[in-house]
C-alpha cells in the first residue's frame, strides 16, 4: 500500500545539491572532461555501454561522470536514456570474421592463421602498482611493425573441417530473432533471446556463474578457442535506399569457447561451443558470457540440469543489474505504512503466542498438581 506523505521536498532538493557538490570534489582540482573519461577510463566506459546496452561512448562517459564512477548507477542512467529515443530499425548482423582486429588470442591453437596478437592487454603484467602513473608522464610511443595481409579466420572455422566440433548455432530458418526489449521473457527461452540477455547482463554475476561451472557446478570443460577484439562495420537496410547503408564502426569483443563433450543420448561426442559477443573491450565479460551460454544449452544437448548456471530462468531472470538494483534498492524507500501494518500483525501474533503459552503453562501446572 502506498500513501503519499509530503514534507521531503526541501530535504531532497538539498540532498541533490549536496550530491552535485560531492560529485565535483575538491574545486581546486580541475574537473574531469568527457574526453578524459572516454579516453583514459575507456574500459569503464565500455562496461557501461555493454550493460547499458547502448553503444555511445560520449553518453557512457557522461553517465560515468554523473554517477561518480558508480558503474551500476551509470548503466541505469544509460538504460533510462535509451528509452527516450525513437527506433530506426535492426542492423544487418555484424561480421566478426572481417573485424579490424586489435587483439586476438587462442588458447587451443598456437600457430593459427593470422597469428596470436596480444594487443593492449593486462595479461602478463605483474599486477604491481606503478608509482610512475601517479605522475603525469607520457608513455613511450607504441612499437609498430609491418603487418602482412594474412586472413584471420575464426578458430571455429578451422576446427570445423574435421567435423569434431559443432557448427555455429542455428535456429529455425523462419524465426525472426527475438528481442527482450520488446517482449516479456518466457521460459523455456530460445538461445537468441538468452544471448541478448547475457550480452547486457551483469559482468560480476556472469563471471561468478562461469566460475561456478569451472568449480564443478555444471562442469563443461571449456577452452578459450578464440578471443578477438576490434572494430566491425555496421550496416542497415533502409526503405529509402536500395543498398545497405554503412553506419560506421563499433568495437566489440568476441569469445569462442570450445567445450569438450562426451556426448549424450541426443548428440555424439564432439566439441560443443559457447559464444560471447559484447560491446567494447570487454574480455572477461565475453568469456563469462560464453561459459554461461554453453551451460544454458544443457537441455538442448541432453545434459542433466544440476547447477545454477544451467538453470535458464535463474540465470536470465537475475543477470540484469538494472532490474536487480531496482528491486534491492527500492527497499530503502519509505515503507512506513507497510511496516506499521506488519508491526500490528507481529504484535497480535506475539499476544496470541503469549496466551497459548500461558494456557499451556496452566495446563501443565494443573496436570502436575493432579499427579
Amino acid at each position: 500500500m502506498y500513501v503519499a506523505v509530503k514534507g521531503g521536498e526541501a530535504a531532497i532538493r538539498n540532498a541533490h545539491r549536496l550530491l552535485a557538490d560531492r560529485r565535483r570534489g575538491d574545486r581546486s582540482v580541475p574537473a574531469l572532461t568527457l574526453e578524459q573519461i572516454a579516453g583514459q577510463l575507456s574500459l569503464a566506459v565500455d562496461r557501461v555501454m555493454a550493460e547499458g546496452s547502448l553503444y555511445d561512448t560520449g553518453l557512457a562517459a557522461l553517465a560515468v561522470k554523473q554517477a561518480r564512477g558508480d558503474m551500476i548507477e551509470a548503466i541505469f542512467l544509460l538504460r533510462a536514456y535509451r528509452t527516450t529515443l525513437p527506433r530506426f530499425g535492426y542492423t544487418r548482423p555484424v561480421d566478426t570474421a572481417a573485424m579490424r582486429v586489435e587483439r586476438r588470442v587462442s588458447a587451443t591453437y598456437k600457430d593459427l592463421p593470422g597469428g596470436q596478437l596480444l594487443g593492449p592487454t593486462f595479461d602478463y603484467t605483474h599486477r604491481l602498482l606503478d608509482p610512475e602513473l601517479a605522475e603525469d608522464q607520457d608513455p613511450a610511443v607504441p612499437e609498430a611493425r609491418a603487418a602482412d595481409d594474412e586472413a584471420m579466420p575464426r578458430v571455429s572455422d578451422i576446427l570445423a573441417h574435421e567435423g569434431l566440433i559443432e557448427e555455429d548455432g542455428s535456429l529455425p530458418e523462419d524465426r525472426e530473432p527475438g528481442d527482450i526489449t520488446r517482449e516479456p521473457p518466457e521460459f523455456p527461452m530460445q538461445r537468441d533471446l538468452r544471448l541478448q540477455a547475457l550480452s547486457r547482463g551483469d559482468e560480476g554475476f556472469l563471471l561468478a556463474l562461469g566460475y561456478s561451472t569451472q568449480r564443478g557446478f555444471g562442469r563443461n570443460h571449456p577452452f578459450a578457442g578464440e578471443i578477438r577484439i576490434g572494430a566491425v562495420e555496421v550496416e542497415i537496410d533502409v526503405p529509402e535506399l536500395d543498398f545497405p547503408v554503412t553506419l560506421g564502426r563499433i568495437r566489440v569483443t568476441e569469445c569462442q569457447m570450445v567445450n569438450q563433450f562426451k556426448g549424450s543420448m541426443k548428440v555424439p561426442p564432439q566439441f560443443t561451443r559457447g559464444y560471447g559477443l559484447v560491446f567494447g573491450q570487454s574480455e572477461r565479460k565475453a568469456m563469462a558470457m560464453a561459459l554461461c551460454d554453453r551451460a544454458l544449452r544443457a537441455a538442448e544437448l541432453g545434459e542433466d540440469i544440476t547447477a545454477p548456471a544451467q538453470d535458464e530462468e535463474f540465470v536470465i531472470s537475475h543477470c540484469d543489474n538494472v532490474q536487480a538494483t531496482g528491486f534491492v534498492e527500492h527497499l530503502k524507500l519509505p515503507h512506513y505504512v507497510d511496516f506499521q501494518a506488519e508491526l500490528g500483525l507481529v504484535r497480535q501474533m506475539r499476544r496470541e503466542y503469549e496466551e497459548r503459552r500461558r494456557a499451556g503453562d496452566e495446563a501443565t501446572t494443573s496436570r502436575e498438581a493432579a499427579e
Binding site: Y55, R92, V94, D168, D192
Partner: protein, 155 residues
Amino acid sequence: MVSRQERQAVTERRREAMAVLAEAPGKTLIHLWQEARLPDDAVVLRGPETGLVTLRGRMGGGGAVFNFGEATVTRATVKLPSGTVGHAYALGRETQKVRIAAVIDALRQRPEFEAVIEEKILTPLRHRQAEADEARRAETAATRVDFFTMVRGED
C-alpha cells in the same frame, strides 16, 4: 541507355561515399566541407534526428541471428534546389556532421559537383582513414607472438 552494370557501379560508388562520410570524424568532415565552399542551399526534409538501431550478431560468429544491443544513430534527408535528394546515416549524435553528409550525398549525384567532392572531401577522408587503420594495424602487429622452439641435445 544506361546499362545495368553502369547503374550498379553508380550505386556502389554512392554506397562507398556514404560509408566514408559516416565513418569520418565530425570535426574533420565539417572542416573539409567548409574548405570546399560548395553551395549550402539544400532544404532539410527530415532530421537531422537521433534514434536507436538494434545491433545484430550471429551465434558462433556465423550462425543464427540475435540482437545484442543498441546504438545511437543520427540520420538526415535533404533536397537541393534542383530537386536531388540526399541521405545520410551515421552512428552517434553528431547532427551537424550528418546534415552536411546528406548535402554532400545529394551534391555528388550532380555531375557538376561530383569531381570536386571526390577531390576535396572524399579523397582526404579515405586517406585519413587508411592511415589511421594502417597505424593501428602496425601497432597490433608489433604485439604478435613469434613462437620459437628450443631444441636440446643431439637428437
